[in-house]
Point group: C2
Chain length 331, copies 2
């Protein structure tokens, strides 16, 4: 089968083996999305070698439960050991022995077929299109924010970053209802972000590279600090800005993963008793519900579509600053 | 009056003015304690100039409420504006316009007299000695940890650091009841710490300066990560070690304040969804209760006593690595 693999370089392999894992379901992939994590892996993040991709929708072609075969599904990307305390408690997302689709110890979704435990698969309602279903995984990661932090109508929330994940987080927060601000550097993306009702603040490179970037961003935001700041900029400097923007006793949700070291002044975190929460994967059901109900429309977030045969061009496009979600169609 | 003041250098001023603030109580200081924050201020932290000191016990000599006069008191060190939302909600610790005794905009306790709003003063029960009462403020800061994080009998908790604040945190945690480990580098201090029932792990300078300090400390701790890690080492490297020691979905409480930048790998915080909570001042009542009931005995934590006349020597002693709490007696 065709598969987009990374092993020190990215390439389309025309004759990869169809995955065969005992006691798992085999899924024919219909469509998949390129995530920043994929771009980071290509730069060396997580040390993963294998078939990339973890945002997908597909159709089950083989499973021990016959009722699954033929179903259109999305899949929870973490596959736990099934035996540790976390797995037994129903949450394999932090199982220390987990594999992660296209990220850790398990070939991913940029291929004609993938394998996952049947328990990881969730059927997609008819009202959710293939392309929308590809957003279930990143939208679940966005929903994770409101699983972790209580957001009310009166909460003042800032999202740092106007990229793919930020756009979804903004939509989840807008649906939850709160006073919403987005801080980013791309004019078009900020326009897309502002359709959620968020106030958009544009910061330029000169500001971001200045030693008082946080104070300057706060000034642009009217010098009123935020109850919650979601840092999803993908850049090393975002957390420092978040610390400048959050009020005493406020909360920072950290989404950005990058491989390098971050230099931070931590004393405001202590003096202002700020809470900082790392945030990764969310549960799929709330994300599916948001898509099925039409509360989140991912249409404006798709910037390009490619065939798997043009995977290299798709990755180039996904890495372009102006790009939003790039989809790979397998058929 | 005599006062220990800092204005680019530390000195005993023999003829400082007795503080006179409208609508506040005047307190004759009996005894005060030197805290690491005082040592940091002398190095330039917080940019404070004035009379140092914020851990004290004293006797009220003037107050608009006559019933206060003559009472032996300790004092909440944050004095709020009284008008903002935080102050009106009864918590001036984060009032943006606050002054802080001996730290920010308000002369402190290393003097014969100090001034605080009457509402900041709490009477000390007879069962609590003067020297024990000096520990109310730092013990309240230690109690803050269990205000912020739920600790149960089965919680595995590590405290990084064996200094003054760590010793109090260990006593609070031991009273709360949990599986307790202390990680430090001073043999004698670890022995004192171990009297709380905590398992003591000694790390040497070579380990602390190694690039894999966290992994090596975890190995010494039996390779089992902790539910909660309290970082009170006072060093820039402590937080990095805390990140290595805490389990996925676990919590780090950050007590260390220092002026410099900290270099951190933040991606484990995101991937393991770690919560990091800055922690500063606590409420005094729980600390007074712990001292009055005898549940916390501060006797072993006093290493030296000085007269205010020997303040310079007291500061030198407080800065010595082997030193524990150094007290200044005003009379």
């Amino acid at each position: 089968m065709k598969a987009v693999r990374f092993d020190s370089r990215l390439r389309l392999v025309p004759d990869a083996s169809v995955p065969a894992r005992d006691n798992e379901a085999l899924v024919k992939v219909l469509c998949a999305g390129i995530c920043n994590t994929d771009l980071e892996i290509v730069k060396g993040y997580a040390g993963f070698h294998g078939t990339l991709g973890h945002e997908f929708v597909g159709r089950v072609v083989e499973a021990s439960q016959c009722s699954l075969v033929g179903r259109r599904v999305v899949g929870e990307i973490n596959a736990g050991c099934g035996e540790c305390g976390l797995c037994l408690a129903g949450d394999s997302r932090h199982c220390p022995g987990r594999t992660v689709l296209g990220i850790k110890g398990r070939d991913g979704a940029f291929a004609e077929y993938l394998s996952l435990p049947a328990g990881n698969l969730i059927e997609v309602p008819d009202a959710v299109s293939d392309e929308a279903a590809v957003f279930v995984e990143p939208l679940a990661a966005a929903c994770r924010v409101i699983e972790q932090v209580s957001i009310t109508r009166s909460s003042r929330v800032a999202v740092i970053g106007d990229g793919k994940l930020s756009q979804l987080i903004l939509r989840v927060l807008a649906d939850a209802g709160c006073d919403l601000t987005v801080i980013g550097k791309h004019e078009e993306k900020l326009e897309t972000a502002a359709t959620t009702g968020a106030r958009a603040i544009r910061v330029d490179r000169a500001l971001l590279e200045s030693s008082d970037a946080g104070a300057r961003a706060l000034k642009l935001a009217g010098n009123e600090k935020f109850d919650v700041v979601v840092e999803a900029s993908g850049s090393a400097t975002g957390l420092s800005m978040a610390i400048s923007l959050v009020r005493p006793l406020g909360t920072i949700v950290l989404k950005t993963t990058h491989t390098g070291e971050t230099s931070l002044h931590m004393f405001p975190v202590v003096v202002d008793e700020i809470t900082l929460i790392g945030s990764r994967c969310g549960r799929f059901r709330p994300a599916i519900d948001l898509l099925e109900s039409g509360k989140v429309d991912i249409g404006p977030l798709i910037s390009h579509r490619f065939s798997i045969d043009d995977a290299a061009a798709a990755f180039d496009e996904a890495a372009a600053p102006a790009s939003n979600k790039v989809l790979l169609h397998m058929v």
